[in-house]
């Protein structure tokens, strides 16, 4: 678009808009505007109520989640040291129980009973030395295991 055409366009638009200005649209009734204001205030109050209800609902859901989580933890939570207990049990190969002499098995059973007694002691002890005791038990078990294989 060259400069003359641009000027002509701007002039056309200006003149066209003058016509729009000369014929103003009808005004809304004051009653209508009052009604609009009333509706706006009502919508605003509705919105506030909804926001408040959502907050209450959100807080209730959060509280319910916390309660359910705590109850689940109490009901199904792992007992202390259960992990270590499983590790000790898993370190006895099932082969140990097969092909061994009766005398060896008797000795081994006695050793295991000792270990179980010590383990129960560790589990009921609150002194905080569990990890050392567990380590000792593991060493003992490994020795027993080694003795077994040595025959």
């Amino acid at each position: 678009m060259d400069e003359a055409a641009a000027r002509q366009t701007a002039e056309d638009i200006e003149n066209g808009e003058k016509i729009l200005g000369a014929y103003s649209a009808p005004q809304p009734d004051e009653r209508v505007l009052a009604e609009v204001k009333k509706n706006v205030v009502a919508a605003l109050r509705r919105r506030r109520t909804v926001v408040f209800q959502r907050r209450i609902l959100g807080a209730a859901v959060a509280a319910a989640i916390v309660v359910v989580s705590v109850l689940t933890l109490i009901r199904y939570g792992n007992p202390p040291n259960s992990h270590q207990t499983r590790m000790v049990a898993a370190s006895i190969p099932s082969r140990v129980w097969e092909g061994a002499d009766d005398a060896d098995v008797t000795v081994l059973k006695a050793e295991i009973e000792n270990i179980q007694i010590e383990l129960s002691g560790v589990q009921s002890d609150d002194s905080g030395n569990e990890s050392n005791d567990i380590g000792d038990l593991e060493t003992e078990l490994i020795e027993v295991n080694g003795d077994m294989w040595k025959g």
């Binding site: 056309d12 729009l20 009808p26 209508v32 505007l33 204001k37 509706n39 605003l44």
Partner: protein, 175 residues
């Protein structure tokens, strides 16, 4: 009204101040009614659309992120008008020919007008609906061509050309 005053009212609206919302109705109610009236030619329908616009304003005021408030408001007004048109079109499709005739006589959207329609309203009825809407948006919202183009997602050249064509034809019709 100065931009600073508008900003102050909008801050109040964002805080949920009822007085600020009613102030917005005083500031923009007449202009928005004029916009709807020039697009529909029907007072009752314009009342309805105006009420819908301000109800939507309460809902959406938190999404206004500065810039031209007039542009933001009239874009929302344009969307409400389009929603209304879509609703009418759906309704019309469901009706038989006889009902369609009754609807077009009573709704007054884009083709039929109130009995007291002025000369300008009749001339506007001769424009393409798209062009008429652009001309009205430009006049009532006082948005720049750039703002209108952004709001309608159309190239600025297209918007300028449509408004120019529409106003030129309007002058001829009013001549």
């Amino acid at each position: 009204m100065a931009q600073r005053d508008i900003d102050r009212v909008i801050i109040g609206c964002n805080k949920g101040d009822e007085g600020c919302f009613t102030q917005l109705v005083d500031m923009y109610g007449r202009r928005c009614f004029g916009y709807f009236y020039r697009l529909t030619g029907n007072r009752d329908l314009s009342d309805e659309l105006l009420s819908e616009l301000f109800a939507k304003l309460v809902e959406k005021i938190g999404t206004y992120r500065g810039g031209s408030f007039d542009g933001w408001l009239f874009t929302m007004a344009s969307n409400i008008f389009h929603d209304h048109l879509r609703f009418k079109q759906r309704q019309t499709r469901l009706l038989d020919e006889h009902s369609k005739r009754i609807m077009s006589q009573s709704s007054g959207v884009a083709s039929g007008y109130d009995g007291d329609a002025d000369k300008l309203q009749m001339a506007l009825g001769e424009l393409d609906s798209d062009v008429r809407e652009l001309v009205m948006m430009r006049f009532y919202s006082q948005m720049s061509f750039k703002e209108i183009a952004e709001s309608r997602r159309e190239p600025i050249g297209t918007v300028l050309s449509k408004v120019h064509r529409g106003l030129k034809k309007l002058r001829e019709l009013m001549g």
